[in-house]
Symmetry: C2
Subunit: 586 residues, 2 copies
């Protein structure tokens, strides 16, 4: 393959696009790989489409290798199956909906659990038909509230999604691990630096899942890791539950005047000023903060919820959201306060919270609030707090919830040391779906005993177009992109410099020899373009090996440069083709 | 490649789908290639997707061979560019429109002229950048009024569309002919029987175009051909204009009572009964029929139109529609009659038609109505007709129009003999777009003299998913599909029959040898399935070469069957792999 830049549909740009913030967005547009067509919607230019297809090829090969079979579903999908699983509503504004000329409701598929489930139901009926894994590489749609970062989070994107179908949880684990193994191979071949983290299942309704996150400072996902190798999505981190604390010598709870202390900070100051302790000063962590929210369920009903957590921690909205899914979290409004007169704003305490208490509002606490822990908290009267309130003695919450923020230094749940936070780009997702979809859509097979059982499913995704951006986030420098060889748009960027016909003749010959040797060549054969511009373009475009045919030709050499290391060497023209073929063809 | 039927996601069906009328629809569903997801929307199962990708590969190779560059646009497109070319309105109900969460208008792309034009405008500015041909292979959408015939006319389908950009009409012709040549290669490789016909440009706004029609009795398109090689879409046929006729001896026109003759048939009977002629009987072709319609223009305005044509011909709606595009033809309503009191229903004649006459309605006649032709037509009074009315002497229409039906036996416009009609499936389309899009969207380049000129464009389409169905329409028998080798899902369908382990061992070995030789094998390794069922499946699925390992094994032979000819031969097991490899690998 020889791509000639004299005719290639490509114009590199000097300036970053105005709306671009992350390197992959800037570089992919400047180097002529993609171009914006609408917010979050991009066109792929020839070099970009080549890279995208290279990524697809890797994904396809590894999926085929585990026996997954490729199919292709429509992107335009009827409403009914998504009704059956409640996702038509649950997706809210996040999907594109439309009607056909007859008024029938359709959506643009964000993911295809329903369709795969129905298709397997249509064709299969026995445990003998299983296991089965199906996949597709397809254009998907999501109406992101804030499409940004170019193709890193677009509204139209390419995804590989696959689904496994098994007769039992044990059989499912084999399918799950096969996908996990395939994903490791895919991300290794893509040259990505990544981490596999425990994840919640999100809107997918499953019970366990892992994410493949590409480590990137510009990543949208925060995850935590420990020195001992624990890694998890923040939503999935569980809090180690401390043992109960003895409270025999804790005095009885006593309410005190604490005027003008509606915040944790003012309260702590007040405590230290008016109720000093001998052993240590009061801290935010000694207080119990009660936060009110409303949970809106898929059926539209609104349920108030109180969350009690140590005063030194905030509620993490994403973690809370993950706990209540598929319901969504909404603010507790003025109207809600009006409906619950027992609540005294700024001074709310467990005295009124809980299903058996005056407010009747369900009261869940952070797992650290174990029996015997001792708190300062609201006394449910303006300007007053309770001191020495002991969990289990003076109040009993309705349960616990993982809604508090995770902080650097928190212990990993598996005891592998203190957590630190890092950022990543979600590139892959492997989900245990369980029997949710099979039950909602009636996918059952006869088991070995002739009994109908629902099928156990898994769902697995790779962001194919996103991978192109993630690779660039992982692999670039100030001058441009540095492609890993297997996804690069070419193996060699051959640059002919100067005005000398002999240079172009030698470069033409070399291009032909390389092509014959199976080397993919991007050939800068433009006349009248300065060497400086050509060099800059080659660094920006990011083909891993750059070969310059120019002045050295007088000495019978061409320059071979490694885009990654910047190392250069001169190679005799006569040896160049075979030298490069050895270098680049695996 | 070995596809094992024991694990392949495939269930062949005994019965035709209830909604299927044409062979490709029946067979592709029954043989497990596609499956309906919604009206006109299909999922591709593993074998089907393999065939689709084989077709894509052929298209891609031939497009690359003429130097066209592959890109990939979004399918979800913003409204604005389609506003600029009026197509947002012109498409009417035929496109899917939707809004995003912010209320922005989008459509699902039916074709991409606007986007390509804007992209080239974005990157290119000089005649030196041209010629340029870009293409994509992409999922497209059309909200068909009557989706039918399976993937032959779906609402979501795969198309290859390409666009050429040139600085002059001469340069354009080269691009056009290059595409034409590539299409001939593509359709030849797809094993299709096809004809290239002259076509009107339809909604595309061009001035010349050709269609590649696959000849098929179930085709939706009617075309005509002559013994001398003329072929055209019915919409594109032009009527040879006869020379003027001398009318010196024609008596003056005379109105006669013709009571109760509102139809041509009743009129002819009345004429023969009451106005007999010496030389020959009156015929429908002696009468001039005047048909009224309304033309609705893109701006919403309604213009009445009268069409005069010989009484033995009907108006062909498609031909009429092609003449008035982008306007659409609507019925002439009661209200329209009420607004034009000069019109006497059933007895309308040229006396009131035409822009200068009492009705003021534009009056266009069939090209056969030349000067001197002599007609019987309405006298604009109830129950009366005019006889001996001579065109050019007694009335003058406002112009001519190609709206009459084309009939077998009509002369070809190029004098190559009488036309006959045939049916075909539109598979490819090559259009001269001219400067319409460039002008609407401002795509100009500097020419050699430094002058800004609009770019001349061409647009070229191949129905990729439709090709899969068209191939089946062309190539099947009662038992099933017969794939041309290059698109077949496998080269060899290897069938192991019986219960004997030795058979399966020999078949396993042969499958491995074939795979090693680069032969793609679909291997029926199912146990406990009768030979009859396996043979039926192999005929239905349609792989071109079927190899049976069974009883013959005792004699050291396997049976090799040609799916097309039905010919069988026994081949020694030991030679089978090399024999087959020679047969199937080009």
């Amino acid at each position: 393959m020889i791509l000639r830049m004299s005719t290639l549909f490509l114009r590199t740009l000097r300036d970053d696009p105005v709306d671009a913030e992350v390197p992959s967005h800037k570089l992919l547009v400047r180097a002529g790989y993609v171009r914006r067509a609408a917010p979050g919607i991009y066109s792929w230019l020839p070099l970009g489409y080549t890279v995208l297809r290279n990524v697809e090829k890797i994904v396809r090969e590894e999926m085929d290798a585990i026996g997954a079979q490729e199919v292709h579903f429509p992107a335009l999908l009827p409403r009914e199956p998504y009704e059956a699983t409640n996702r038509w509503e649950e997706y809210g504004d996040n999907i594109f909906r439309l009607q056909d000329r007859k008024g029938g409701d359709y959506l643009l598929g964000p993911t295809h659990e329903e369709m795969f489930t129905l298709l397997v139901k249509d064709l299969y009926s026995s445990y003998k038909d299983l296991p089965l894994s199906l996949y597709q590489i397809q254009t998907k749609y999501r109406d992101e509230a804030r499409p940004r970062a170019g193709i890193l989070r677009g509204r139209e994107f390419v995804m590989k999604d696959s689904y496994s179908f098994d007769v039992s949880d044990e059989a499912f684990m084999k399918s799950y691990l096969a996908h996990r193994g395939a994903y490791i191979k895919i991300f290794d071949r893509l040259g990505l630096e990544y981490v596999i983290v425990k994840a919640t299942s999100g809107a997918m309704g499953g019970s366990a899942s892992e994410e493949f996150l590409v480590t990137a400072v510009n990543g949208e996902d925060t995850y935590v890791r420990s020195p001992g190798g624990y890694a998890a999505n923040v939503e999935a981190v569980t809090t180690p539950v401390p043992p109960p604390v003895a409270y025999d010598d804790v005095p009885a709870a006593h309410a005190e005047d604490t005027p003008d202390t509606p915040t944790i900070e003012t309260l702590v100051d007040h405590l230290n000023a008016h109720f000093p302790r001998d052993d240590r000063r009061w801290q935010a962590g000694d207080t119990l903060k009660n936060v009110l929210v409303v949970v809106r369920h898929p059926d539209g009903s609104r349920e108030p919820l109180a969350i009690g957590l140590p005063g030194d921690r905030e509620v993490d909205e994403k973690r809370l959201q993950a706990q209540v899914e598929p319901a969504v979290v909404e603010p507790f409004t003025e109207a809600d306060f009006a409906a619950h007169p027992a609540l005294v704003r700024g001074y709310i305490g467990p005295g009124v919270l809980g299903e058996k208490n005056p407010s009747g509002i369900r009261y869940l606490v952070d797992p650290r609030v174990v029996e015997g822990t001792r708190w300062v908290t609201g006394a449910d009267e303006p300007g007053r707090h309770v001191i020495d309130l002991v969990a289990g003695r003076d109040f009993t919450p309705d349960g616990t919830i993982e809604a508090a923020e995770v902080r650097a230094g928190d212990p990993a749940p598996d005891g592998s040391g203190p957590l630190e936070t890092a950022r990543g780009i979600e590139m892959g997702h492997i989900f245990q779906l369980g029997r949710t979809y099979a039950e909602a859509l009636g996918l059952q097979v006869l088991d070995e005993n002739g009994k109908l059982v629902p099928v156990t499913m898994g769902s697995y995704g790779v962001g194919v177009s996103r991978a192109v951006a993630a690779i660039v986030e992982n692999s670039h420098d100030d001058a441009g992109i540095i492609w890993p060889r297997e996804v690069a748009p070419a193996d060699v960027h051959l640059v002919a410099t100067g005005k000398d016909d002999a240079v172009f003749e030698a470069a033409d010959r070399l291009a032909g020899e390389l092509d014959a040797a199976g080397v993919r060549v991007l050939y800068d054969d433009r006349r009248g373009v300065s060497p400086g511009v050509k060099f800059k373009d080659s660094e920006l475009i990011g083909v891993p090996t750059i070969v310059v045919v120019g002045r050295g030709l007088a000495d019978g050499v061409v320059e071979v440069k490694d885009r990654t290391t910047g190392e250069r060497e001169n190679v005799a023209v006569a040896d160049a083709a075979s030298h490069l073929a050895r270098l680049v063809v695996p």
